[in-house]
């Protein structure tokens, strides 16, 4: 029997910011969940199961926080799952929630992803030394910068490409009231002149550390038919590779390519650049946009940077990427993947407000994590899929 169709009928997000000192962890997740329920025209009683995701528990200092959050999520008496796949977790959480509908186990599922990085200290948790490996660099940028350098070498990309991406995403964020960073007056020069953190990554090309949560309500086909402006899931997939291994391509990981290929096959997408109207892609450091343009098949290998330079990924380009401002503008790590998935759904529902891409009917949501090794992606559409 074919999978049940999945409809996204409610979406909620907190206003992401550096420190949400006005809410507890429970308050943060509930804010996003309540917004999603209201958007769906539902109450807690309508939800049959909850799937929550977040990144390492050391970020908040709470072990297995779904136990503490059961009440806040209206999950008492219900099945509650907690997914953790490093940075891609927001995306994989959504996919696990969707599978409950696809398998016809539940008809209405709430999925939430969050990070409250201001509790405990995320920078400390990110730099927790792996036993028996001497700590050399602070933060994730130290891991990714050498691979960015490798991309620049392989592609021959000019040095200013990263700056263009950061500028684009931060300007887009000005149109997104939920985004963490609202840098009025940002310019090419202000980005370019910002301090180099891990050469070639500048301060202004780096994602912020945010408190934030995102939630979605999924229903089966009947629920989608009854809803206003549902987004329909067209495809979804996850892939994983080892962190370091002989022959691993860290710049254009095969896991990302294969994950995208499976999503495109499910969704009937033959040419991503032509068939997809807008993409929300996990770009935490600016140079990952050209790298992922190639990895996800929007550009030939070595050519991704040209799309950036040509403005193809700007809001008025032919394939806007991250009209929400992306991870570069808001990064509650555990939530970021789900925010990409949710923003993609918002686009095809026509609900993205000032950062709406006109006429968006097919959107890609993408998340990655770990050492560019965990991938979770989905495609959503305004129209119900044929199968």
């Amino acid at each position: 029997m074919a999978k049940e169709r999945v409809a996204v009928v409610g979406i909620g997000q907190t206003r992401h910011q550096a420190t949400r000192g006005d809410v507890s962890i429970a308050g943060l997740v509930r804010e996003a969940a309540v917004e999603a329920l209201q958007d769906a025209g539902m109450t807690w009683a309508d939800i049959e199961a909850v799937v929550i995701g977040k990144a390492p528990d050391f970020f908040e200092g709470v072990m297995m926080p779904e136990l503490y959050l059961a009440d806040a999520l209206g999950a008492v008496g219900k099945p509650l799952l907690r997914v953790h796949t490093a940075g891609s977790v927001g995306g994989s959480t959504a996919l696990v929630a969707a599978s409950l509908i696809q398998a016809r186990i539940h008809r209405r599922v709430l999925t939430v992803a969050f990070e409250k990085q201001s509790e405990s200290e995320a920078m400390w948790a990110l730099t927790l030394p792996i036993p028996f490996s001497p700590p050399l660099v602070a933060g994730a940028g130290g891991y990714f910068a050498p691979h960015i350098r490798a991309y620049m070498r392989r592609s021959g990309a000019p040095e200013h490409i990263g700056v263009l991406v950061a500028l684009k995403d931060r300007l887009n964020a000005l149109k997104n009231p939920k985004a963490h960073l609202h840098e009025e007056g940002i310019t090419f020069e202000s980005v370019n002149d910002s301090i180099m953190l891990w050469d070639p990554i500048r301060y202004s090309e780096t994602c912020p550390s945010s408190d934030g949560a995102c939630a979605m309500v999924f229903t089966d086909e009947a629920g989608g038919d009854a809803a206003t402006d549902p987004a329909w899931m067209l495809g979804g997939a996850m892939r994983s590779e080892p962190t370091m291994a002989p022959g691993r391509d860290q710049v254009n990981p095969i896991g990302g390519r294969e994950c995208a290929a499976e999503v495109y096959a499910q969704a009937g997408i033959a040419d991503p650049r032509r068939d997809i109207d807008v993409a929300e892609v996990y770009v935490p450091f600016s140079w990952y946009e050209p790298m992922w343009l190639e990895n996800l098949g929007f550009a030939e290998e070595g050519q991704g940077w040209k799309l950036v330079e040509d403005g193809a990924t700007a809001m008025d380009g032919d394939i806007p990427w991250n009209p929400s401002g992306g991870v570069l503008s808001s990064n509650p790590i555990g939530a970021s993947g789900m925010i990409r998935f949710a923003e993609a759904a918002m686009q095809v529902r026509g609900r993205a407000g000032e950062h709406q891409i006109d006429g968006a009917r097919v959107a890609l949501g993408h998340a990655y994590g770990g050492g560019s090794q965990f991938f979770a992606m989905w495609a959503v559409g305004a129209g119900k899929p044929s199968s």
Partner: protein
């Protein structure tokens, strides 16, 4: 619903402290064994899902390094829950139900020895009101045991009998950590360590790993002579704060058991993830298991309690007895959180419908 079965199960030899092997080295032989039991390599496995927790490992993103023991090249369809492997099995079961996989590898592992487990588990509690008091896991279980005694749910004699029975049964289980031939009377002579709990009422601290292979329909029939079919599986969670729950009953176990269809037909045996003796009584009653049901023939968590693998092992042990023909219908139970806050129930049967 598709018919899904457990077709293979493997576990490590459970010990107090794995002194020489790290988590990958502990897990790898278990993964090899479970795959070789059904002659599958990683490329023939459609989906992989695991359970682990950073707080046992003392390291963020700890599940990432254990992927080195799986062989994730070409890239695999893989997911992870920061929960007991029983919930990873649930996620894999769901994936197979969607039709997007026919086979799945599930594993759960944890070394409890690096940290002080009783204190580590206090981090599972509400961070604003409870965790700052550092209530240790044995103390909280003792609160629940006191409530059970006061409510007449059980007696210290019955608890000692459960401990004695479990550790005696464990003698037949080569993987078990604790075995004992001590009588309940001898056990009761010992001191309380957290009244009313005595040492024998508590599970051991364990390092261990386990893995299961799931397969659907005809694939299962190809891979195993007598697949252990999952006829029902469900899980539920209760409120977090201990003060708002009735600790002498387990409503989530009852609900999950009803949904999984425990009571539909007679049960031969049950593997219950009740780490403390009084909890076995609570869970048994919640599942409505009568006196004729053999409980924890493996010795259960009182004989080996590798956190994060222990729930998955209950499913594996029950499935093994079905595969051997020792049972036709078995219930497996897994728990998570303080004082049985969250519970999963799985009903397994041998033979076709």
């Amino acid at each position: 619903m598709r018919d899904v079965a457990v077709v293979a199960f493997a576990q490590s030899h459970h010990v107090r402290r794995e002194q020489y092997r790290n988590e990958v080295e502990l897990l790898m032989p278990v993964l090899h064994k479970v795959k070789s039991e059904v002659g599958l390599d990683q490329t023939q496995i459609d989906f992989t899902c695991s359970g682990s927790t950073d707080y046992l490992a003392g390291s963020a993103f700890s599940f990432v390094s254990t992927l080195d023991g799986v062989g994730a090249r070409p890239p695999i369809s893989e997911s992870h829950v920061e929960m007991d492997g029983a919930w990873a099995l649930y996620e894999a079961w769901v994936k197979i139900q969607t039709g997007m996989a026919d086979t799945a590898l599930v594993y759960g592992y944890g070394k409890s020895s690096p940290g002080a487990l009783r204190d580590v588990l206090s981090r599972q509690l509400d961070p604003y009101y409870m965790a700052p008091l550092w209530p240790d896991s044995v103390g909280l279980a003792a609160l629940q045991a006191r409530a059970c005694l006061d409510a007449g749910v059980t007696t210290v004699e019955e608890m000692a009998a459960i401990a004695a029975r479990s550790r005696r049964a464990a003698a037949a289980n080569e993987y078990a950590q604790l075995t004992s031939s001590a009588d309940p009377e001898a056990l009761l002579a010992g001191p309380e360590i957290a009244a009313p709990l005595r040492r024998h009422d508590c599970p051991p601290v364990t390092d261990g790993a386990a893995a299961v292979i799931l397969a659907a329909g005809d694939r299962a029939r190809e891979l195993a002579a007598r697949p252990a079919w999952i006829r029902g599986i469900d899980h539920r969670i209760e409120a977090h704060a201990l003060g708002v729950r009735d600790l002498t009953t387990s409503v989530s176990t009852r609900l999950a058991g009803d949904r999984a269809g425990v009571g539909d037909r007679p049960v031969d045996l049950a593997e219950l993830h009740a780490p403390f003796t009084h909890q076995e009584v609570v869970v048994r009653e919640a599942l409505g298991l009568g006196d004729g049901v053999t409980i924890n023939p493996s010795g259960g968590p009182l004989a080996a309690n590798p956190l994060i693998a222990a729930g998955l092992i209950r499913i594996g042990e029950a499935a093994t007895r079905i595969a051997r023909g020792d049972a036709n219908r078995a219930v497996a139970h897994a728990t998570s959180g303080p004082c049985l806050q969250q519970n999963l129930v799985c009903v397994l049967e041998g033979g076709e419908r």
